[in-house]
Amino acid sequence: MITKRIIPCLDVKDGRVVKGTNFKGLSDVSSPVELAKYYSDSGADELVFYDITASAEGRAIFTDILTEAARNVFIPLTVGGGINTLSDFDRVLKCGADKVSVNSGAIRNPELISEAAKRYGDQCVVISSDIKRVDGEFRVFAKGGRIDTGMEAISWIKRCVDMGAGEVVVNSIDTDGVKGGFDIELLRLVTEAVKVPVIASGGAGSVDHFIDLFRKIPNIDAGLAASVFHFGEIKIPDLKSALDKAGINVRI
């Protein structure tokens, strides 16, 4: 049976991983290439590279870094950040990305999803959504969680999947950074609403939070986190073996 996936996310700015790390054996803790190899070797099932660069120069460095990482890491790579057009898809796919995640770009132009799905296949298009509770409903936020779009989240995600998004990343702004666990209520609603794989993001602070996630929502496909992995608070091999002991099917 297919395993639950554990996915570290690397925020990259001007070619460097933003959140520092303290891993032994890594000569350069903020090198995306080194870190990608480290995670791949320690059992990560997939990697997300998120480009938070604003400048064109930074973007060019990002694509170089991505190419270098993709030459050295042989697990699936998803790239997000600054994806607004089909040529952005093209740019990162040529550098070795397997999937491309869109957020603000799809909010501005939802057709981007259907056009990309038609050209590259549904499996290549990931809708990533930043979601927050506002006035008793779940709202979609744009621009890295800064702008309330006014759109209700579940219907937005369903619409994206109908247009061809092959996978959904749900990032709960309410639980993000709090390290109090994933947003079970929101994630349950999303997994009930769509048939494509759903990746949980925002709130992981301990191994138990991942166990809790997969136990409470058996239909969720993956857990994504950034800082808890980068700071070494959770080591992926320990996490995997704890999940395995808890009876959750993982790749070991």
């Binding site: 050295n72 042989f74 697990i75 794989p197 790749r251």
Partner: protein, 202 residues
């Protein structure tokens, strides 16, 4: 030298990088002569069967691949490239394959239990059904990465490995010099690289 057949479908970056990593020489090519001179042929592919099959025949490369395979040259198809090795596919209609292996390609929709997500995306364990040189470094239960909505069936005479996804799904096939993987060895970490290495050494 391994010829990676470039017929305009899919991204060949990862495959090329994987062979570079294991030190095997490859050429990405759409030149029939290069394919004829190569020691081995790798047929990649992502996307839809009909479109890929048409591109392969429009370029005339289908007959070159069939000819070389019939002469005994090792040939490996990956994902949609594996689907094309079979007699036919029922992906959006009915389409002729290259006919190098016996069997058909069918959809998961309606043939796997309801409630399972389609496509199958993720890591699944191989259940090895018979021994083969391309699996010489692989053990039963090793995990590989799948992304697909269609799979090969009625292919008992070439079945090498399956993976459980509501039912036993064909994961790898081989008969004589022709083999194929449903999963992506170029995305399956060390296990995947070891399969490509075994193919290069075969």
């Amino acid at each position: 030298m391994i010829a990676i057949v470039d017929y305009g479908v899919g991204n060949l970056f990862s495959l090329r990088s994987s062979f570079d990593k294991i030190g095997a020489e490859t050429t990405v090519t759409s030149d029939p002569d290069v394919i004829r001179r190569a020691d081995k042929i790798l047929l990649p592919g992502v996307g839809a069967f009909e479109d890929a099959r048409r591109k392969l025949s429009d370029s005339g490369l289908d007959s070159v691949v069939i000819e070389e395979a019939k002469k005994g040259k090792p040939l490996m198809g990956i994902c949609l490239g594996m689907h094309m090795l079979f007699e036919r596919s029922f992906e959006y209609g009915k389409h002729e394959g290259l006919g190098l292996l016996r069997g058909s390609v069918i959809g998961m929709e309606g043939t796997i239990p309801k409630g399972l997500k389609i496509p199958q995306i993720g890591w699944n364990a191989l259940r090895i059904r018979s021994e083969h040189p391309i699996f010489k470094y692989v053990k039963d239960g090793d995990f590989v990465y799948f992304v697909h909505s269609y799979y090969a069936t009625d292919c008992e005479d070439s079945l090498l490995a399956t993976a459980e996804y509501g039912r036993e799904i064909t994961a790898a096939v081989a008969k004589g010099n022709v083999c194929g993987a449903q999963f992506h060895p170029e995305k399956s970490g060390e296990v995947g690289l070891s399969i490509l290495r075994a193919f290069a050494e075969w």
